[in-house]
Symmetry: C2
Subunit: 352 residues, 2 copies
C-alpha cells in the first residue's frame, strides 16, 4: 500500500489537572480531569507516509530524527507499539515515515507532547484507512501521552478517571463543543522556553509516591472536575474561574510537597499570579483565571471582552509579543496534500 | 521605681514548622513545632527603662517609634496588654521606655518578631523584678508572637500544640540543650531583604481557612515533630535532615494552596533547593537540609564539618558575604549596663 496523510491538531489546556498516574504503563490517572481544546494558534502538523518503498519506520519531530527504542523516552516505545497495532489491524506490512512539527517550543509546559500524540494517532488512523471510532482512538492516545486523549475532540472535554484495572473505562468525552461558550479563551503568556528540569513522566510517578498531601488530591480534583463541568454547562465564569485557580495551585502544591520537590513556577509566574489576583480584586469579579501546566508559562482563561484588561495587567511582566490568545478548537483534522511535510518527488523528502 | 535593664536574645529557626492558628487571639497552633535557638550571630538587643520620671509608655524598634494602638500591627496592642499585666503584677505605676534593635533585617523571614518578642518579655520580667518562671514567660511570649515562645530557652525546643481552649497547655520545653549536639548549625543564605507581600499573621489565618490540603497538615507536622525529637535524641542527622526538608516543603505547599495563594520562595530559593538536593545526591547522604520561614532566605541546617561543602554548592547563588553561619544559643540573657541602648544622662536618650 502507499498513502500520504497530513493532519493538524492542537494542545488542550487542563482547567482541572491530571497529575499522578495510578497505573504507569497504561497512563491511568488518580482523578478525572477537564480541559479546553485550543484552536490552531498553537498547533502540531503531522504527515504520515505509509509505503512499501520505505526500508524502515522513521520519525522526525521538529526536524530531529527520534529513535523508537530510545530508553530515555519511553513514549517512543509506546508509539512503536501503537504503530504495529495499527499496521496489523490494517493487514499491512508497509513501513511508515512520520514527520511532525510543533508551531511552539516543546517541553516548556505548553502540552506539546499531548498535541503531538493526539495528532499522530489521528493521522495514523487516517493513513492506514482504519476508520477506528473516537473512543478507541482516545484510549490509544492515552497510552502514549495521558492528556493527549482529551485533544481528540473540540471544546470542553472531560477525561474520566475510570475504575477498571485495564483502563478501558478511562476515556475522554465532550462536555460541550466549541460553539457552546466561545467567549472563553486562553491568553498564554510565554515567560520561558527553557526545558523543564523534571519531566512530566517522572513527576507523575514521584508525586503520588512521595507527597503526603497528594493523598487528598484525587478527592479534591474529582470534586473540582464535577463543579467545573456544571459551571461550563451554566456558562458561569465566576465559579469556573475560581476552580481553575484553586486547582492549578493545588496541583503545584502537591508537586512542591514531593521528595525531592518539583517546582515549575518561577518569579515571572508568581508576578503574573499576583497581577491577576490584584486585577480580580480591583474589579470585584474574576476577570482572569490562571493555570500552569508543568512549566512556568501562564495560561490565563478569560472572556474575549476582557482580553485588554488582562493584557494591561501583564504590562511589565509579559510583553505583547510574548502573548498568544487562543480560542477553542474543534480537534484534529486532515489537511490538504499541499500542506504535506513529506514530499512525493523526490520520494520521502522532508519539507522545511 | 526606676530600673534600666538590657537584654540580648536571638531568633529560633523552626525545623518542624508552625503555620496556622487554631485560635487567633491566643496564638494557639494546629500542631506542635520544633526549633533550634540560634547563637548571637543574629540578635535582638532590648533595653527597658522603668521610671516614674517618664510621661508615657514609648517603644522604639530599629530606630522608629511604634504606636501601641496601631490598628495594622495588632502585636503592639498585645504588647501593651502584656506591659500592663507586668506593671500590675509588680504593683508599679511607672511608665516604660523600650528600645529594641535587630542586628538583621525585619519582615524578611528571619524571625525578627520572634526574636524581638522573646527578648522583650525576658527584659520586662527583669526590669520589673518579677521573677516569673519560664513556663509563665513562655505563655506570655506566645501571645505576642507564637514562635517567640520557643526562643526563651536554648538548644532544641518543642512547642506543644496543647488541647485546652485557654492555651495553658500550649507551651515550649527544651528537647536538648545546646551542649547535646553542638555540631548542628544553621547556615543562612540571604537572598533578599525585601519585605514580604503577605504578613505571617495574615497567612496564619488564610491557610487554615482556605487551603484544602491544610486539612491533613496538622497530623503530618505532629508526626514530623515526634520523629525530629527522637532523631535529635539519637543525634541522627540523616533522619532529622529528611524531616526538615519535607516539613518545609509541606508547609510552603499549603501556603501555595491557600486562596489567594501565598508564595515566599523565589527563583534564588529554588536554585538553593536544587543545589542542596544535587549535593546530597552526589554525596549519597544528607549533607544539608534547607528550611524556609515566611521569606525567601534559606536556612541550611548542616554539621560544622560540612560547612565548606554547603558554601561550595551555593557558589554563584549566594556570595560569601551573604552567608551567616549561626550555631546554637542558650536563650536570652541580661547584658551589662554599658551595653544599654538608653542613656541615663541625658535621661532617656536613645543611643545609636
Amino acid at each position: 500500500m502507499e498513502n500520504l496523510v497530513t493532519a493538524i491538531g492542537t494542545p488542550n489546556i487542563a482547567l482541572v489537572k491530571y497529575w499522578g498516574k495510578r497505573d504507569v504503563g497504561l497512563n491511568l490517572p488518580y482523578n478525572s480531569s477537564l480541559s479546553m481544546t485550543l484552536d490552531e494558534s498553537l498547533n502540531t502538523k503531522t504527515s504520515v507516509l505509509v509505503s512499501d518503498r520505505l526500508q524502515s519506520d522513521t520519525i522526525y519531530i521538529d526536524g530531529a530524527q527520534q529513535k523508537f527504542d530510545d530508553a530515555k523516552e519511553e513514549k517512543f516505545a509506546l508509539l512503536a507499539e501503537v504503530l504495529n497495532y495499527m499496521r496489523e489491524a490494517a493487514s499491512s506490512s508497509s513501513k511508515v515515515m512520520i514527520v511532525s512539527r510543533n508551531s511552539f517550543p516543546s517541553s516548556a509546559g505548553l502540552a506539546s507532547s499531548a498535541s503531538g500524540a493526539a495528532t499522530l494517532v489521528f493521522a495514523l488512523n487516517e493513513a492506514f484507512g482504519l476508520g477506528l471510532g473516537q473512543r478507541e482512538l482516545v484510549i490509544i492516545a492515552r497510552r502514549i501521552s495521558g492528556s493527549s486523549c482529551r485533544g481528540l475532540m473540540g471544546g470542553f472535554v472531560r477525561w474520566e478517571r475510570g475504575e477498571l484495572p485495564d483502563g478501558t473505562d478511562s476515556y475522554a468525552t465532550q462536555v460541550a463543543d466549541n460553539a457552546h461558550w466561545p467567549e472563553v479563551v486562553d491568553l498564554i503568556a510565554l515567560v520561558s522556553a527553557e526545558k523543564k528540569r523534571i519531566s512530566s513522566s517522572e513527576g507523575h510517578r514521584r508525586t503520588p509516591s512521595t507527597s503526603e498531601l497528594f493523598k487528598v488530591r484525587p478527592e479534591i480534583a474529582e470534586r473540582f472536575a464535577g463543579m467545573a463541568s456544571r459551571a461550563i454547562g451554566q456558562r458561569d465564569f465566576q465559579t469556573l474561574g475560581e476552580i481553575i485557580i484553586k486547582d492549578s495551585n493545588n496541583m503545584h502544591a502537591t508537586m512542591l510537597d514531593s521528595y525531592p520537590p518539583i517546582m515549575y513556577l518561577n518569579d515571572a509566574s508568581r508576578r503574573i499570579i499576583y497581577a491577576i489576583h490584584d486585577l480580580n480584586a480591583s474589579e470585584g469579579r474574576i476577570v482572569g483565571a490562571y493555570t500552569f501546566d508543568a512549566g512556568p508559562n501562564a495560561h490565563i482563561i478569560t472572556l474575549k471582552n476582557d482580553i485588554p484588561k488582562i493584557k494591561a495587567a501583564l504590562q511589565g511582566i509579559a510583553s505583547e509579543e510574548k502573548i498568544i490568545v487562543a480560542g477553542q478548537g474543534s480537534g484534529p483534522r486532515v489537511l490538504d496534500e499541499s500542506e504535506s511535510l513529506i514530499g512525493k518527488d523526490p520520494f520521502g523528502q522532508i519539507k522545511m
